[in-house]
Amino acid sequence: MTDFLGARDDHDFLSGYLDGELTADERAGVEAQLATSAELRAELADVTAARDAVRGLPRREAPAGFWDAVLATVAAEPVEATEGGEAAPVVALDERRRRRARAWRIAGAAAAAAAVVLAVILVPGQRQVRPNVTGAATQHAASSSDLGDSIGPITAAVPLMRPR
């Protein structure tokens, strides 16, 4: 019986191989199999692509103000000693969110107050520019495609590619 992906689901050693989780002997065995099976090689390419896609994801940063707010909230939380392991949540996450929002507003108010002071010194109303670095590379490739090496669309697609 094949799974929805249309192949038997027992080649997980390929992921083990990719992730460096096999012994030297096991690796040798896998490589021997790969050398003779195009199907296995194709499956290895598939999981490699998926692995690379996830590994290539940029680090997601918390929004401005979050760290101040969460540190304040966690610091203010009463601590009860519990037996073994991590403490079970005392309060549901949505309540935590409300508490953090309060801390956030406090942190935000302090920042706003500081900004009011600074505004007296700084020139008001300046627009914040956030250049899009990869967008600029794409724009350049498109704009220069008539001038450069004649396969400009390839260079325009390159910012979309992910490193192996």
Binding site: F4, L5, D9, H11, D12, F13, L14, S15, G16, D19, E21, E43, D46, V47, A49, A50, R51, A53, V54, R55, G56, L57, P58, R59, R60, E61, A62, P63, F66, W67, V70, L71, T73, V74, A75, E77, V79, A81, T82, G84, G85, E86, A87, P89, A92, L93, D94, R96, R97, R100, N132, T134, G135, A136, T138, Q139, A142, P159, L160, R162
Partner: protein, 170 residues
């Protein structure tokens, strides 16, 4: 830091961004990621006295995984009022050409979220937090063999959904 055990504030300062990234990749949105990080830091604060110096990131990954799975179980038992979907996701506007790069990351993130948790968690722990299978087994409480097979299956499902016409589901 005393006896090689950091304070919870030091953990937050030094590893907070790592935690947030893992939480975001598990949960798929900033609001939930923030809740997860907050709860995880709380558990860190309470659990530090029991922490044995070793792989701090492995320990943190275990905490944030448990927080995530606890929350998933809680939601299944009692569906929360759904927060309004990010309108950009429900009705995606045609992105500007200079958003192409972000679009691809969103696509991969979306594909991750389509994975059932039992596959998403080990894939994220392996490929976002770069943990070993043993650490993942420890974090999720399943045998290493199961970790490997779920990672493999998760990746094959991701690949299917990232290329045209992917089917989702186990």
């Amino acid at each position: 830091m005393a006896d090689g055990v950091p304070s919870w504030e030091e953990v937050a300062r030094d590893h907070g961004r790592f935690l947030y990234n893992v939480a975001y990749r598990l949960a798929g949105n900033d609001d939930d990621a923030q809740d997860l990080v907050q709860e995880a830091l709380l558990r860190v604060r309470k659990g530090l006295e029991r922490y044995q110096p070793g792989s701090l990131e492995g320990w943190l990954a275990r905490i944030v995984t448990n927080v995530f799975l606890d929350e998933m179980r809680r939601r299944k038992r009692r569906p929360t009022d759904a927060l309004p979907e990010d309108p950009g996701r429900v009705l995606p506007p045609a992105p500007a050409a200079d958003e192409v790069q972000r679009g691809l990351s969103d696509e991969i993130q979306h594909a991750l979220e389509e994975l059932p948790e039992e596959f998403r968690v080990p894939v994220v722990l392996c490929d976002v937090s770069d943990l070993s299978y043993e650490q993942i087994a420890d974090a999720t409480g399943v045998p290493i063999g199961t970790v490997r097979s779920r990672i493999h299956r998760g990746r094959r499902m991701l690949r299917a959904s990232l290329t045209a016409g992917g089917v989702t589901g186990p």
